[in-house]
């Protein structure tokens, strides 16, 4: 088996057989950007320059171990040899997985262990046509896919409203054509009525004609406007719904890395920008271009020579527009980003408003805000200023064309080569022509705003979920609750595993207590069971079925969680308890609350089960919230239960009540519990002691105490602490 990037010919020529592994690093040994090659066979490791010059050779027999030491933004592959550690390659973060794999493979060879299997993920992927990085899980190169596709994709949202849009378009064509009639009627009036001073029925007819056209125009514009509003609102609703559902679909890992309050604004403002372009924008573009063509046809038929003068400023305007187009797009994005930063700031300080107040830092927050606010103002002025500067310029240049026509046309009229009415009509058409031309700049504005909004929206929609559902999931029905970890390794950042090589078999109905220092990987451990994240290596199975083959909704039906941070939704207590089972009867709800030791305090509340909790509602104490969330887990009736520090930060009496509730809750269910106080885990069937992501001890409380290992130390440390507390108290 060979795992290789193709070696350059000068290097390849020096190998007798295909090397086991070869890879190009993107840094030279002195830390500068550049290429260097590493390759190894069963016998030796070699480093090369691209031109075939050998830099280093290590005999495989000398190798004890290889390590990928990750720094910040890059890393180093080290080989431990009999003569001390040797640097094999330096690389940027882009190649961390590749060299991480190389290290594992080398170590396996050196120690004669099973060689790791290579997965697609280890190799950085680049677009075959343009050499830019491809993101995980996608096949389309974002560069080779062009802007046209973004527009096409955006317009797809208009598809369901095809009929209405066509209707609006048809009305638009009609209005455009009808708008062209009045100048022509004016021409007839001047040439046939006013100048010959021929007072007949013609004047009345023309005036009536003018009146009728303007009436028809008004009606049609109203109808078109109504259709526009209707389609627009519907479109916007569809867009918002899609954005929100793609957000809900994304895995927890996506939100871990981002501040969540930013999305509130994004869902609304980005969909609005897209809607504006699609309804107003598209209709305008098609309508105005049609109008331009029609006007030119009429003008040319009236007097083609004069019309040419009107065309003179056009190339200039087109060039300016083309030049400004990218700039405007960037400035829109810049403006958006400054608002984005402002929103993040507000979201942050409002979420932490207790801390702000407690430390009396309102003034600091205000000054942070006003600084960000200044940026928004600055960018606002930049984008609006650009646009405001462009608009009059366009008008002025367009006006130059009119001046030319006035001068040349006026001369022709004086020399009797042209009728006055035709000149007037030409001027009128010309003014109408510059309307759409000026709109070009507005259109640029809209389109670039919409395009950058669409980019951001589609980016969210295209982000693959890191925990995808399989196509045909295994139906699991009611599970027994057997959980097995098989060589599980996972890290929030791939090369920094938080839990390593975990093996554990849990029998149905067993209670497992997870113990360890903070940062030992306890919470990650239970996150893996919920499948908030997928394992990097190894697998987790429930009743023998790999988690990845179970649909997530099925899985979540079987798992109940009581977390340290109890989150109650905006709604009544009853709604919160029945969150996972909306069809629960009032008796079900009360029964669950009773088991959770929550019934009594809830009934005593003035509004009972109808008490509003959540962001603006009645404020429950920490212990009360905790019991409500236990009731929520009870009504869910899961086979597997997860308790994460369920009794942290409550007083002893409340803890006793919660503890009681939990004891009732865990009966007959497979339970994983993390607790701050080790004493609360006494009932656990087995305790699992984690240290730096690895299982170091497994056994009952008594067994582990006897062993005098890591658990013993933890217990002792806690006793020490409670003694100190006792003295303080």
């Amino acid at each position: 088996m060979s795992i290789a990037e193709r070696l350059p010919d000068p290097i390849r020529a020096q190998f007798e057989q295909e090397p086991l592994f070869s890879a190009k690093s993107d840094l030279r040994n002195n830390g500068h950007f550049g290429e260097q090659w590493m390759a190894f066979t069963e016998q030796e490791i070699t480093l090369w320059e691209s031109d075939g010059l050998q830099l280093l050779k290590i005999i495989m027999k000398d190798l004890k171990e290889a390590r990928a030491v990750n720094g910040v933004g890059g890393g180093t592959l080290l080989a431990d040899t009999g003569q001390g550690p040797v640097v094999l390659a330096r690389y940027t973060a882009a190649l961390s997985s590749l060299f991480g794999f190389a290290a594992k493979l080398l170590t396996a060879i050196a120690k004669g262990e099973d060689r790791p299997a290579v997965s697609e993920k280890e190799f950085p992927r680049y677009c075959p046509t343009c050499d830019n990085p491809l993101s995980e899980g996608t096949q389309v190169c974002p560069i080779c896919k062009n802007n046209g596709k973004v527009i096409a994709r955006m317009l797809k949202y208009a598809k369901p409203y095809k009929l209405q849009m066509i209707g609006a378009g048809f009305l638009l064509v009609l209005t455009t054509l009808i708008e062209l009639i009045p100048p022509y009627l004016t021409k007839v009036m001047i040439d046939d009525v006013l100048q010959p001073k021929d007072m007949g029925s013609t004047l009345l007819m023309i005036v009536a004609g003018l009146g009728v056209t303007s009436l028809i125009l008004t009606v049609m514009q109203t109808v078109r406007g109504l259709i526009g509003v209707w389609v627009g609102s519907k479109l916007m609703g569809d867009l918002r719904k899609d954005i929100y559902s793609s957000l809900m679909r994304l895995s927890l890992a996506f939100f871990d890395r981002r501040q969540t309050s930013q999305f509130i604004g994004r869902v609304n403002s980005d969909s609005e920008a897209m809607r504006q372009f699609m309804t107003d924008g598209v209709i305008w573009v098609s309508g105005e271009s049609l109008r331009v063509i029609a006007i030119f046809v009429i003008m040319f038929s009236l007097d083609w020579k004069l019309t040419l003068f009107a065309l003179l400023p056009m190339p200039f305007m087109v060039i300016v527009s083309m030049k400004l187009w990218p700039k405007i797009g960037r400035r829109w994005y810049q403006q958006w980003r400054s608002i984005f930063r402002l929103n993040v700031l507000v979201g942050d300080s409002l979420q932490g408003v207790r801390v702000v107040k407690a430390f009396g830092q309102e003034a600091t927050e205000m000054s942070r805000y006003s600084e960000a606010n200044r940026e928004v103002v600055r960018h606002n002025i930049r984008i609006e200023g650009l646009w405001q500067g462009m608009f009059p310029l366009f008008s002025f240049i367009a006006g130059l064309g009119t001046l030319l026509i006035w001068y040349n046309g006026g001369r022709s009229v004086l020399q009797d080569e042209l009728q006055l009415g035709t000149l007037m009509a030409l001027i009128a058409y010309l003014t109408m022509l510059f309307g759409p031309l000026q709109w070009v700049s507005q259109m640029i504005n809209w389109a670039s705003n919409a395009l950058s909004a669409a980019d951001r929206v589609f980016e969210i929609m295209d982000t693959p979920s890191e925990v995808p559902d399989v196509r045909d999931p295994v139906p699991i029905g009611k599970i027994k609750g057997e959980v097995a970890f098989d060589k599980v390794t996972y890290g929030y950042e791939k090369h920094h595993p938080v839990i390593k090589d975990i093996n554990l078999r849990v029998k149905p109905g067993e209670m497992i207590g997870l113990v360890g220092h903070s940062g030992a990987g306890k919470s990650t451990f239970i996150n893996m069971i919920c499948r908030f994240y997928d394992t990097d290596e190894g697998s987790i199975s429930i009743d023998g079925v790999d988690l990845r083959r179970i649909s997530q909704s099925d899985l979540r039906k079987q798992i109940g969680v009581v977390l340290q941070e109890t989150f109650l939704f905006d709604g009544t207590i009853a709604e919160n308890i029945a969150y996972s089972k909306p069809d629960a009867t009032p008796v079900d709800i009360m029964r669950a609350a009773k088991i959770a030791n929550a019934h009594d305090f809830i009934v005593r509340l003035p509004d009972g089960y109808d008490t509003r909790v959540g962001e603006r509602g009645h404020r429950l104490s920490g212990g009360e919230k905790q019991r409500v969330s236990i009731a929520r887990a009870i009504i869910h009736d899961p086979r597997i239960l997860i308790l994460d520090e369920a009794t942290a930060s409550v007083d002893t009496e409340t803890e006793r009540q919660i503890q009681e509730a939990i004891t009732r809750l865990i009966e007959g269910r497979t339970t994983f519990a993390i607790a701050h106080r080790l004493s609360t885990l006494r009932n656990a069937d087995r305790l699992v002691v984690l240290e730096r992501g690895k299982i170091v001890e497994v056994g009952t409380h008594e067994e582990l105490l006897e062993r005098k290992g890591a658990y013993h130390k933890l217990v002792e440390a806690q006793q020490e602490l409670s003694k100190i507390k006792g003295v303080e108290g």
Binding site: G71, G84, T92
Partner: protein, 168 residues
């Protein structure tokens, strides 16, 4: 009791009792308080504000041996090696010129000249890949996690500033 107290105190190193060098295999090593280590790892405690101060020196297992208050107090040879090592571990090339910033479809491409040679960054968007730690400093991170730093974008040449005006 004494040993316990030390465990929770920061050990500031005596610069005279530190010697850093580079091993034959190219690995950073040294003698700390008279004890030789054939592999040492350096950490910046404040990677953004104090790049050459408060450097945590750790052994291969990651246990902290001491903190160097300011590497300028070290002897010449040690200073040279620790500077190099910091550069290796904190791979953050300093941008000397911005050749171009282009948006192609939904990817932003940066062509840069840095103190460590020319490079190219690709970003999916700007709002998640640009950081402004303070003042005119910008940290650029690309899709794959490769990072570059612009120490002060207003100090760059005219061409670079032009490229940046509508971006930062």
């Amino acid at each position: 009791m004494n040993a316990d107290k030390d465990k929770y105190d920061i050990t500031i190193a005596d610069p005279d009792r530190l010697i850093f060098s580079r091993g034959p295999g190219g690995v950073f090593q040294g003698i700390v308080n008279g004890k030789p280590y054939d592999e040492l790892i350096v950490y910046r405690a404040f990677p953004f504000i104090y790049t050459t101060q408060f450097i945590s020196i750790r052994d291969a297992k990651g246990e902290e041996l001491c903190i160097v208050e300011d590497i300028a107090e070290l002897d010449e040879e040690s200073l040279k090696e620790i500077e190099r090592e910091l550069q290796f571990r904190y791979f953050l090339p300093r941008v000397t010129r911005v050749d171009s910033v282009k948006q192609k479809s939904d990817l932003w491409l940066w062509e840069l000249q840095t103190n460590l040679g020319p490079t190219r960054l690709a970003m999916r968007n700007l709002h998640e890949h640009l950081q402004f730690p303070s003042g005119n400093r910008i940290i650029l991170t690309d899709i794959n996690g490769k990072r570059c730093e612009i120490a002060d974008w207003k100090e760059l040449d005219g061409h670079s500033r032009n490229q940046l005006t509508d971006v930062v």
